[in-house]
Point group: C2
Chain length 397, copies 2
């Protein structure tokens, strides 16, 4: 059984803040700063160029990949970290399309995170006018997996509502139709149990700065099913995905398996911070995290609905149908979220009217939830958001 | 006049090491570790998600871009940092090709760094069989800029020999032919004066972990000439290059000018280290750096040729024709370099027989050069490399 008091002690959280935005950017793991400082002074500073081998920098992308893979049901050696999620989406979809050259349609839904759609829009433009990005409503996905669909690209957990797609059922449906799947796990990895292997998923991608707590700009990851890895001719074929990067051949030859999805020089400093963050996961069981997350989100919904009648639940009511976040609609949601943040409860706002709250049992407990709701209720009851200070619209992340 | 004793004091160099490999990975700037530690604990730790605005993380890619731009003759607002050099090569070449849709050839040379060729090979494969990557010998480039060439992609300084291409003349030749240029400045930025604006360059890319000392895996940069920036439809069109990333529109609209070359979430920790490294450049004039670099390389060549008759110069003898590195050919170069490193002089080896030495006046002085040559001469004269320990081949970076 995961000791959540122990995991909470592994984070440096600001005093007087209840942080319900770890689904945007996870907090600082206590060990990360010292780990990075050590890497910089002892490894970079003293080993210099030899750190690539002596300190194991070159192997970090696959080692971290395996640690992440453990949380998402990936086979050892099937995940590699690097680049950003946008880049990994592009690489996965482009590589998937090459496996299905007779079809020209990528199917996605309007609940997908926009950058996934933007990246594929750009990719398909470059491939030619016969390619199409088809975007349907989330509930229309099953009926839209038609015979012309080469790739089904979905984000498992909707970034606004937290609605969960059924990965296993949709992957089966896709495969029955000859369609390759690319799953975006941005709001899944570290939030809910994922079983890529058990679902026979083809490709998956995700980021590590949300529930995995790797820090701002932490690298992304990509999964390729072992049965496909040796067949994939990777898009974005960079030198560190080459079979022999240091032979400096003029021609590209893909490396073994998942190694070929590497592109350029990996961000060693970011990876060191991520490595410290992954240590916390060694103390946690993702099934326990899920059970506790459901407790917390159920408690939050119950208390908010009792205390804040002006807020309308925008997430599925059935906990099995949602990820580890809860969203409420409120017309003045932007101002209300600013007021809430000013009072020490950090969630975030998504246009046009979504107040979004993430629940991460590694460092959020039931007492935090109760406390957050009492502050929210005070703001709503007394209209504390209705001031010029909070109603000014500005760019938020 | 740049005070090179003062710049040298800004780096943490290991005792008893003469580091002639800053052209692979620059050393640790003294301020970088503290700066990163502060960013992690005070910004990430305390500001959490609000750091994107409050700590200015979101603006770092363009602010750092301008600081790098200052060293390469780029107009303010024409450079942005992010991703890896491989990705930025892909983005620049793909975007350039869209500006010249009637032509299908990318011209490069066999002295280019392999990842540039690999990335373009992959790009062109996705664009279709009518596209061609044409690779010629470096001295054949001027005669190969024919009417079918859409994009000329060259690395200004050859990574093995240090040979310099004439950026101004080749860009003029390209433009006279209607060809768009993509210059890779990996071995130029911080090594030699570059005048992108004065050369009327179109696109340029580079990395920041070599002469700019940004640390292992530091982000790359991309330049787009202001006259083209608003015309470019960027390949790799990610959400942070969108006109309004936080509107979460389903359709991509390119952001203003260079902003559109951003892709995903920027690596804030790496960028913080790079920011500390760029502070050293505020103390230096790149013209002074070039003058001193020529002094150092001339001295090195003279001394090595006098003391080590077995080594054959592989770099241009005319300093105006080479970058800030010197390479020598030696059949047992791998073993000799291992022996040299074991004796405290760090250079690197490039297959099949190149011993490569980088000279970075920010922290290397004439005394270091004299000392390095005396150690090298001892190794060569007494065949100290001729032992099983040093002759074992292993992967080197």
């Amino acid at each position: 059984m995961t000791d959540f008091a122990a995991t909470k002690a592994m984070f440096d959280l600001p005093k007087d803040v209840i942080y319900l935005d770890g689904n945007s950017l996870g907090p600082l793991p206590h060990a990360a700063s010292g780990r990075v400082s050590d890497m910089m002074t002892r490894e970079w500073g003293q080993m210099l160029i030899t750190g690539w081998n002596k300190a194991g920098w070159m192997a970090m992308p696959t080692k971290l990949g395996d640690r992440i893979g453990h949380l998402i049901g990936a086979e050892p050696g099937s995940v590699v970290t690097g680049d950003t999620l946008s880049i990994k989406v592009y690489q996965a979809v482009a590589s998937a399309l090459e496996l299905r050259p007779d079809r020209k349609v990528v199917l996605s839904d309007s609940g997908n995170f926009p950058t996934d759609l933007y990246m594929v829009e750009g990719l398909l433009r470059s491939l030619g006018p016969e390619y199409e990005l088809r975007v349907v409503a989330p509930d229309e996905v099953p009926g839209s997996i038609t015979e012309d669909v080469a790739v089904l690209m979905l984000t498992e957990v909707d970034y606004r509502s937290g609605r969960l797609h059924d990965m296993k059922a949709l992957t089966e449906l896709a495969h029955a139709n000859g369609t390759i799947t690319v799953w975006d796990l941005a709001h899944s990895a570290g939030a809910i149990p994922v079983d890529l292997s058990g679902c026979s998923a083809d490709f998956a991608v995700g980021c590590t700065y949300k529930y995995l707590n790797g820090g701002p700009g932490a690298p992304a990851f990509v999964y390729v099913a072992p049965r496909l890895a040796e067949r994939v001719r990777p898009a974005l074929s960079g030198w560190l995905g080459h079979e022999a990067p240091f032979a400096f051949d003029l021609d590209y030859r893909p490396g073994d398996g998942i190694e070929r999805m590497r592109v350029g020089t990996p961000p060693v400093i970011q990876m060191t911070a991520l490595s410290a963050a992954m240590d916390v996961w060694d103390m946690a069981d993702i099934q326990d995290v899920r059970a506790k997350s459901i407790e917390l989100t159920e408690l939050f919904i119950e208390r908010v609905e009792a205390a804040c009648p002006g807020l309308e639940l925008a997430s599925p009511r059935d906990p099995e149908q949602r990820g580890s976040q809860v969203s409420f609609r409120f017309a003045d949601g932007y101002a209300a979220m600013q007021a809430l943040i000013a009072h020490g409860v950090v969630g975030d706002f998504r246009a046009p009217d979504i107040m979004r709250f993430g629940f991460t049992p590694l460092y959020i407990d039931a007492q935090d939830v109760e406390h957050a709701v009492s502050i929210l209720a005070d703001i709503m009851t007394n209209r504390l958001w209705d001031t010029p200070e909070f109603k000014v619209r500005q760019r938020v992340t």
